[in-house]
């Protein structure tokens, strides 16, 4: 909390600003004294310093590309992929995925719960 004394110049500036706005109708006036603003210019340019304990901060975000799918969601995904691939085999970048999808739709017990897609 700023001390009461420090408030006085600000209050004075406020009063001046308000009276100015009353005097000259039209142009908007700032409601606080901008000359008291203190912005720090942060020095963030440091690099590795020999002899020091150097802390390499690594900004990152860990983003799973796919997760929290149920088994059914994965199976549906593969079933649809298999249909697309049988229409155009050139799409396949890897043999494993369509083969797995084929297995899931043709072998018991999985084929029993294949929905009509």
């Amino acid at each position: 909390m700023p001390r009461a004394r420090a408030l006085i110049p600000r209050a004075r500036a406020l009063i001046v600003a308000l009276s100015l706005s009353a005097a000259s109708a039209g142009a908007p006036v700032l409601a606080f004294d901008r000359t008291e603003r203190k912005a720090v210019r942060y020095n963030t340019s440091s690099r590795v310093l020999p002899g020091a304990i150097n802390i390499h901060m690594q900004p990152h975000s860990h983003d799973d590309v796919g997760w929290l799918k149920t088994f059914d969601e994965v199976r549906l995904l593969l079933v649809r992929r298999r249909s697309a691939l049988s229409a155009n085999p050139a799409l396949s970048a890897s043999a494993a995925l369509p083969l797995f999808a084929h297995f899931l739709t043709s072998s018991p017990p999985f084929c029993a719960c294949v929905p009509s897609t």
Partner: protein, 349 residues
């Protein structure tokens, strides 16, 4: 791929902000201060975002990658699990991602990924540590999860970082620098176990787990001035961390890595960068007194600093399975059985 994590729609299962917003906001933050850095990992998201971003935003991303502010680590389509997939699919994952990087961002040395970043997989394979590290042109691999007993033993022996040579056939031809992060992939907590004060993300300040100090507040005219608390925290955590990290044997230089982020963070990146800017500024005012120097870096920059050290690194030649996790009753069993099951499916069809 279903786009929920990209567009930001999966709130019923976990807090997800939307990776498209992460990339968009990070680019703005990086442009505003050329000291800032960010590392992007999953090219599945990056390519999807580039496809639909405004041309000037995509161009800004390319510029930032070529400048070295936005750095690509790992850069497969996704971050592959190491226990279950076939090695052909692991190769496809990295090859596809790197091919897309070359096409979208260019082929110069500063752009192409040169670090393995396996921060979430549960245990680590010899194939990953050889074929998909040195074999992929990476000079180092950093990871997060490891067996709890190995973690304790390595910390006690000052061997958390080492030369990894896990292929019996390829030997030193496929070795690289490797090591595990201080806290999985989260910012470091206090040595006595108190939570990290560096969780600056909007998603990390919740009623269940409130932020420790909040953002770095440096205006003495306002409540909650906490610069001294933060500087003390940095010094305390850094001194503890450096007690088990090998220094340069000639001049005593120590390099530490602190991961500043966690799951789906940086949707509002200014929350991070404002506080990180201030941390750097206030810690480094007195580097000559306390000896700690804080700055923006990347996994690549960290690996370069490590490899430049005159240090006799220990050597590790085994893989990192089976995986017994962080708590006493959290073991990933059955991984080997799963591999055989899946491979038998591929072979039987």
């Amino acid at each position: 791929m279903r786009p929920q994590y990209l567009i930001g729609r999966n709130g019923s299962q976990q807090t997800v902000g939307g990776v498209q917003f992460i990339y968009d906001g990070v680019i703005t933050s990086l442009l505003r201060n050329p000291s800032r850095t960010f590392t992007a990992v999953e090219m599945g998201f990056m390519m999807r975002w580039l496809e639909t971003a405004q041309p000037e935003d995509a161009a800004a991303a390319v510029e930032l990658v070529q400048r070295g502010s936005l750095v690509l680590s790992n850069a497969g389509w996704c971050m592959a699990d190491e226990a279950v997939p076939t090695w052909t699919d692991m190769a496809d994952n990295l090859a596809l991602g790197h091919r897309l990087v070359a096409r979208a961002f260019g082929r110069n040395a500063s752009v192409l990924p040169r670090i393995g970043w396996q921060i979430d997989p549960f245990g680590h394979s010899a194939a990953q540590g050889s074929l998909f590290t040195a074999g992929a042109g990476f000079s180092a691999m950093f990871y997060g999860r490891l067996d709890m007993e190995e973690r304790a033993a390595r910390k006690a022996a000052n061997a958390t970082e080492y030369i990894w040579r896990p292929s019996r056939s390829l030997g030193a031809a496929a070795q690289s620098f490797a090591g595990f992060n201080i806290h999985g992939y989260d910012p470091p907590g206090f040595p006595d176990g108190r939570a990290t004060p560096f969780h600056f993300d909007v998603t990390q300040d919740t009623p269940q787990q409130p932020a420790v100090f909040g953002p770095v507040q440096d205006n003495p005219a306002w409540d909650g001035l906490n610069v001294d608390d933060f500087v003390s925290a940095v010094l305390e955590i850094a001194r503890n961390h450096s007690s088990y990290i090998l220094p340069d044997e000639v001049d005593g230089t120590i390099n530490l890595a602190w991961q500043m982020g966690t799951d789906f963070n940086y949707v509002a990146p200014i929350q991070w960068y404002q506080s990180l800017d201030r941390l750097i500024h206030y810690v480094n005012i007195n580097t000559s007194q306390h000896g700690v120097n804080l700055f923006y870096s990347t996994p690549q920059g960290y690996a370069d600093a490590k490899l430049a050290q005159r240090t006799a690194w220990p050597v590790k030649t085994d893989d990192q399975f089976p995986y017994w996790g962080d708590e006493k009753h959290w073991t990933w069993t059955g991984a080997s059985a799963r591999i055989l099951f899946l491979q038998s499916i591929y072979l039987s069809v």
